[in-house]
Amino acid sequence: MDRPAAGSSYQRFPRVRIRELKDDYAKFELRDTDASIANALRRVMIAEVPTVAIDLVEIEVNSSVLNDEFIAHRLGLIPLTSAAAMQMRFSRDCDACDGDGSCEYCSVEFNLSARATDSDQTLEVTSNDLRSADPKVCPVDQARAYQLALSGNDYDPNAERGILIVKLRRGQELRLRAIARKGIGKDHAKWSPAATVTFMYEPDILINEELMDTLTFDEKRSWVESSPTK
């Protein structure tokens, strides 16, 4: 990179090259900048990217072994598709509902109703049992299952088992209404979009060719073998 001339701006032009991009994984190169920018990106990704997560749970019936707060906490941690998060409002500054966070602009309602009826098997209540009022916001594995089903190729409905919320024994019931809201990871980890974000310096490896030439072939080979990334 060319150094800016004296007196000119220190402005730099970082470049991003995406190496790998999957639904749940991204890897990219960041160039022409320094670690502070990389770290700023990391911090923002963890703490300040808005997402949607269940924030309020109204429990109608809960005869499961887990108590209400327990289930509410587990529901909150279920990742929801948050593509719509940028269009949503934060409940605290939503005019439509005076900040009580239950209007269509700032919230999405979920319903869950499960009851283990007969059979001696325990019923596993998972994120797949959550019914969303807004198709844009739903548990991520539901969304993935939907997409796979759409694409049609080798979709196995049993592969996506969803995230376990609670197991019900015969006769136990769980019925609740949950409201998902927009938020950021700084407030609660459930709004953090990433499981983890990290970066590393790309090593700049210079090989002393002159010395390299003094090695025998076997030595070169073992030198190559010793690479940790191989």
Partner: protein
């Protein structure tokens, strides 16, 4: 210790088998037998609290029968033909009698309804009726209810499998061994005491040599002391005012010849020299015959008068009190003489050779008293009381009406035994009249704070003597407690070293029948004492045979005799807990079959070669062989502390030790980790820690929150702490698996970075990751029980539960009733806040309604609601509401209120290595350091915690845990487990780490989360099991500006529960005085406390009063209002003056103008 290469040796042997030479035979066994499986087998057979259950089982099957048999006949005083005889006794199944109907009860039912889990004691009786004394029989007569130990034979849980237990509402991991009395779980702690009926040679406080015996029989407990005072030997007994010269005692027992006395002690001239002054003293008193001796002693009796006048007081004392456990048959005192002789001989041995003194702290001289024995003492007392009451009633009846003597079966009242047992267990006060025993704190409430806490209670041993003594002897670690008592698990502070805990494999014996064993000894060549002269008894080469403290006789070939006895034991012909101990120093063979000895199982080795072979272990693994089979086949035996002295015990069969002759090894340890107890067994790598750290962890492991039992959500404990996401430790030990801690964990695996961060981590504080807390780390549930009783005042007058009042729109009149259901009791699932009502109870205004005919109306009731006192701003929820009728048939309403808490600054956490710390600060995840893999620690611990604590075990736990998560296998860290493969070696762990791309030393390359630059050091990071301790800020924080005051003194109240003030105490006052801040002191001590304005009469100096109507002050002493002055003083001061005046002390105030 060296471990021989294993694989190579085996391979070589297969190829060509060389002829066995001396060398090859002596070489260590190549493939060591994996004996570990014996441990779970042992615990499967015996359970974790086997000693409690065994002891109680012994009592309800045999002990109670012996007691009844010993006192089986009661008869009327004036006519012995009117009698009652108990022919049989048995303890039924736990039940309760409701309206003449017997209902079986379960332990869980008792816990929930505050009942006692007890079973009827039923006897078969024969008794006489009427004037003709017709014999009548009655079966199954109730004499009382016995509280039943859970999982004992009489308990309905006995022998039930997991599914059946679950159906009964019981946790399968719960060990039992405790009682349920009035709904609370009570443990009768193991009591430690000096062994009974044994000679102990010691020195007293004045440095005199003493020989003491505490005799204990069914009838009497007595202590006999023989002292050497100024070269003369005396007998001390409470029944004599003065010490009696021992030769006089011997003469009084019929041994009139001095020569015989000397022979009894032994013919060694040194003994004679020591005995000479005593003989001389006796001669100088001119006592030569038995008659003279008894006369001499009669004068020294403490309470002359009562007693057997015919044969003289002192003779009966000698017979019944002096070494009471030695029997006197037909007035023959010879046995006692011999016993006294042996006592004297032991004493003189100790004088001649100081190392034959007995050590009172030696575990072999201790006996553990268990619940069965304690209850049996109590029961015998109560049974005798019941009988004597019956006899008394009978006497009274027959005195009154001569016509029809009633029969005894009507006079047996079962209430006294029932209530006596119940009261003793529920209060812990053991009062036994016979032995004048008054013990407090024998039973304690079983702590259900964590699973470990309750297990720890079951293995606890409490000392008998007072804790205030500063002596270090009994507190020190005793070498003889190896394998029997846990070396780590003891409390800190005043009970340190006195309160102990059993080790994992310890067994405590119960009594065994003596008769057959004695006969067996005789037929094995023990020569009876009565045939021997004193000369022969002490003949060189012959050993005295002592059986449970009694001298049985002598044997000429002690080793042969001992071996014969041991072989009989190994083949199961005599009880497995009989101990045979050859004491070379005392020339004695001690055979013990009494209860309360501690012993442990060991593998028998023949000349260093283990009897347990691989095929045995295979059979065990296949389930065709049980632990009892090992015992029966003579592969394993129990050794008690004394017999261990005759054994040479190797740790491992295949390990050679330099200075030990291999062929002299007699036993092999089952597993070295069994020297630790249950609670210390959950520390990983304890052998790498500094010893006190393990002790600290033992105390803290009991305060850790986690899962308590499988039935924890159905229990009704008054306070219950649960962890929301309790985990099983990544780094486990074998003990953890054996006791079930992996199923009921009390902690979470936290990724810990050992580094300094933010300065909020000094002094052991830890920095926590906020995102981890958001995701549920350290989250806990606190459940508290609130009980409301609907009081019944008689005659249809009782409290009532009213439904919440509503106005005509249906809105609540009082907002604090929002948690209530329509029945007036809080609804489960409702959020309940501070000052909310949870039971809307109303009480009648007038309780005494005799004569008032009309039924109670609404206006006759006043509100007396139960109001929830919580923390403002916290959300608590009503978890459950339980209604039941208590033992007094009153309705009791139990509301359980639940509070889920996330960790906050100031909450206490601890690892398993005695390293506690409070949460110093909570930091956002993005500010936390992170590795290139994206790993971000859950908490940060300051490295200064390591150098002074030296908890290397924690470091190994960290890298072991890290290897565990990366390779997906739980690693082990059992105590001393490296040689046997029960603990992973650091080297192997390092290799695993390298294989998964970590540094071998567990350090990681981290970036700063704040700036993004790499940290300048590699950070030691990995998972460590962290416990959340019960001490939480929320329960403790307290502040007040102004608030309630005490009525009497008008000073602020004391204590957090009463919203009390914070006291500026004496020391703080001293500081302020020294500083000179007088106005501040004035303000704190008067204005902020209890200021009061008084009127003082300047003339008489007494307090007057202010008349508000006339607006004048008045002195009631001088009868005028002149000379009055106003002043302020503390109300407490004014109160003092008035109280003094009420006692005719006149405090006068002298005022000067200020």
């Amino acid at each position: 210790m060296t471990v021989p290469p294993q694989g190579d040796d085996a391979a070589k042997k297969d190829k060509d088998v060389p002829p066995p030479s001396y060398r090859s035979l002596a070489a260590p066994v190549a493939n060591p037998v994996d004996k570990f499986a014996l441990l779970p087998a042992f615990l499967k057979v015996r359970g974790l609290v086997k000693e409690h259950i065994d002891s109680f089982n012994y009592f309800i099957t045999r002990g109670i029968r012996n007691i009844i048999q010993a006192n089986n006949r009661i008869e009327a005083r004036n006519d012995p033909n009117i009698y009652l005889r108990y022919t049989n006794v048995h303890v039924g199944t736990p039940s309760v009698q409701v309206d003449y109907k017997v209902e079986e009860i379960t332990p869980h039912f008792c816990r929930l309804t505050d009942r006692t889990y007890s079973a009827p004691i039923k006897v078969d009786i024969e008794y006489t009726v009427g004037k003709q004394h017709e014999l009548q029989f009655k079966r199954n007569v109730l004499i009382g209810y016995m509280p039943i130990m859970l999982r004992s034979y009489a308990c309905i849980l006995h022998g039930k499998d997991e599914a059946e237990l679950a159906r009964l509402g019981e946790c399968p991991l719960d060990p039992g061994g405790y009682f349920i009395v009035k709904g609370t779980e009570k443990v009768i702690l193991i009591q430690e005491q000096l062994s009974k009926n044994r000679i102990i040679i010691d020195t007293d406080s004045k440095g005199r040599v003493i020989a003491s015996v505490t005799s204990s029989t069914h009838e009497i407990k007595s202590k006999t002391v023989i002292t050497l005072d100024k070269e003369k030997i005396y007998l001390q007994l409470n029944q004599f005012t003065k010490p009696i010269p021992i030769i006089v005692v011997m003469k009084a027992m019929g041994m009139e010849s001095d020569q015989e006395v000397v022979q009894m002690v032994g013919r060694d001239p040194r003994y004679g020299d020591l005995l000479f002054p005593s003989i001389q003293e006796c001669a100088s008193e001119r006592i030569y015959t038995q008659q003279q001796a008894l006369q001499y002693m009669d004068e020294k009796v403490t309470y002359p008068g009562a007693g057997n006048q015919k044969e003289g007081r002192s003779k009966s004392i000698l017979r019944d009190v002096f070494i009471a456990h030695v029997p006197v048959k037909n007035g023959n005192f010879r046995q006692k003489c011999i016993y006294t002789g042996v006592m004297l001989r032991r004493m003189m041995d100790a004088i001649l050779n100081a190392n034959t003194f007995d050590d009172k702290d030696y575990v072999g001289n201790k006996r553990l008293e268990l619940s069965g024995q304690l209850i049996s003492l109590l029961f015998e007392d109560l049974f005798k009381t019941m009988n004597s009451q019956a006899v008394e009633l009978m006497n009274k009846n027959s005195d009154k009406t001569r016509s029809s003597p009633s029969d005894f079966s009507q006079l047996i009242k079962h209430e006294s035994i029932t209530s006596g047992l119940e009261r003793a267990i529920s209060t812990g006060n053991w009062d036994i009249k016979r032995f004048r025993m008054h013990r407090k704190g024998v039973s304690q409430v079983l702590s259900r704070l964590s699973y470990m806490a309750s297990l720890g209670y079951m293995t606890r041993i409490t000392p008998q003597f007072e804790k205030t003594r500063k002596t270090s002897g009994p507190r020190a670690l005793q070498p003889s407690q190896w394998g029997m008592l846990c070396p780590c698990d003891t409390p800190e502070g005043e009970a340190c070293g006195l309160t102990k805990n059993l080790a994992l494999l310890t067994h405590v014996t119960t009594d065994q029948e003596e008769g057959p064993l004695m006969n067996l000894c005789k037929s094995l060549g023990v020569e009876d004492l009565s045939l021997l002269s004193g000369e022969e008894i002490h003949a060189p080469g012959s050993f005295l045979v002592m059986f449970n403290g009694l001298i049985l006789g002598k044997h000429r070939q002690p080793q042969t005799f001992a071996n014969a006895m041991r072989n009989l034991r190994r083949s199961g012909k005599i009880g497995e807990f009989v101990s045979i101990f050859v004491n070379e120093k005392q020339h004695c063979i001690h055979i013990a079959s009494d209860g309360g000895r501690v012993c442990r199982p060991l593998i028998i080795a023949d000349k260093g070669i283990s009897r347990v072979k691989e095929h045995h272990m295979k059979e065990l693994r296949d389930g065709v062989r049980s632990f009892d089979d090992f015992l029966r086949d003579g592969l394993i035996e129990y050794l008690d502390v004394n017999e261990e002295n005759n054994a040479l015990i190797a740790l491992y069969e295949h390990v050679d030790q330099d200075d030990v002759e291999r062929s002299s090894i007699t036993h092999i340890e089952i597993e070295p980790l069994s020297i630790l107890g249950v609670v210390s067994g959950l520390i990983p790598y304890p052998h790498h820690n500094q010893s006190p750290r393990n002790t600290y962890q033992c105390a803290m492991g009991k305060q850790a929150m986690g899962n308590i039992a499988y039935n924890q959500l159905f229990r009704a404990d008054s306070l219950l702490y649960l962890l929301v996401y309790a985990q099983r430790p990544l780094l486990t030990t074998k003990t953890i698996e054996l006791v079930g801690y992996d199923k009921l964990g009390a902690g979470q695996n936290a990724t810990v970075a050992v580094m300094g961060y933010s300065g909020y981590d000094i002094e052991d504080a830890i920095v926590m990751n906020k995102s981890s807390l958001d995701r549920g780390f350290g989250r806990c549930i606190a459940m508290k029980k609130y009980t409301v009783i609907k009081e019944y005042y008689g005659e249809g007058v009782s409290d009532r539960i009213a439904k919440p009042q509503r106005d005509k729109d249906g809105a609540l009149v009082k907002q604090n009733m929002r948690a209530l259901d329509e029945d007036g009791i809080a609804a489960p699932g409702q959020i309940i806040r501070n000052h909310d009502v949870y039971v809307n109870k109303q009480s009648p205004k007038v309780i005494d309604r005799r004569g008032a005919g009309a039924p109670l109306m609404d206006r006759d009731y006043k509100d007396s609601p139960a109001i929830y006192k919580g923390v403002d701003g916290e959300t608590t929820v009503v978890d459950r509401v339980m209604l039941c009728s208590d033992t007094n048939e009153k309705l009791s309403i139990k509301c359980i209120i639940r509070h889920t808490r996330r960790p906050e600054v100031g909450d206490k956490f601890s690892s398993r290595h005695g390293q506690k710390g409070v949460c110093g600060t909570i930091v956002q995840q993005e500010d936390f350091p992170f590795s290139e893999r994206g790993i971000c620690p859950d908490l940060i611990m300051n490295p200064h915690g390591f150098p002074s604590r030296m908890t290397i075990g924690k470091m190994i736990e960290l890298i072991g845990g890290k290897a565990g998560v990366s390779c997906g296998r739980f690693h082990y860290g059992s105590a001393f487990g490296e040689p046997s493969g029960n603990a992973d070696k650091v080297e192997d762990i390092s290799n695993t780490l390298i294989k998964h791309g970590f540094s071998y030393n567990g350090k990681d390359f981290l970036y700063s989360g704040i700036l993004g630059h790499p940290l300048e050091a590699y950070i030691f990071m990995g998972p460590i099991y962290y416990q959340k301790l019960k001490h939480m800020v929320l329960d403790k924080m307290h502040a007040r500006a102004s608030g309630p005051r005490v009525l009497l003194t008008r000073q602020p109240t004391e204590g957090r529960s009463r919203d009390g003030g914070l006291r500026l105490g004496e020391m703080e006052r001293d500081c302020l005085i020294a500083y000179g801040a007088s106005m501040l002191i004035f303000e704190r001590l008067l204005l902020s406390s209890d200021p009061y304005q008084v009127q003082v009469c300047r003339k008489c100096g007494l307090l007057g009063y202010y008349n508000y109507k006339l607006k004048t002050s008045y002195c009631s002493m001088c009868k005028n209002g002149e000379n009055m002055a106003k002043m302020r003083l503390p109300y407490a001061c004014k109160l003092l003056f008035q109280e003094l005046q009420s006692m005719n002390v006149v405090p006068r105030l002298k005022l000067t103008e200020g």
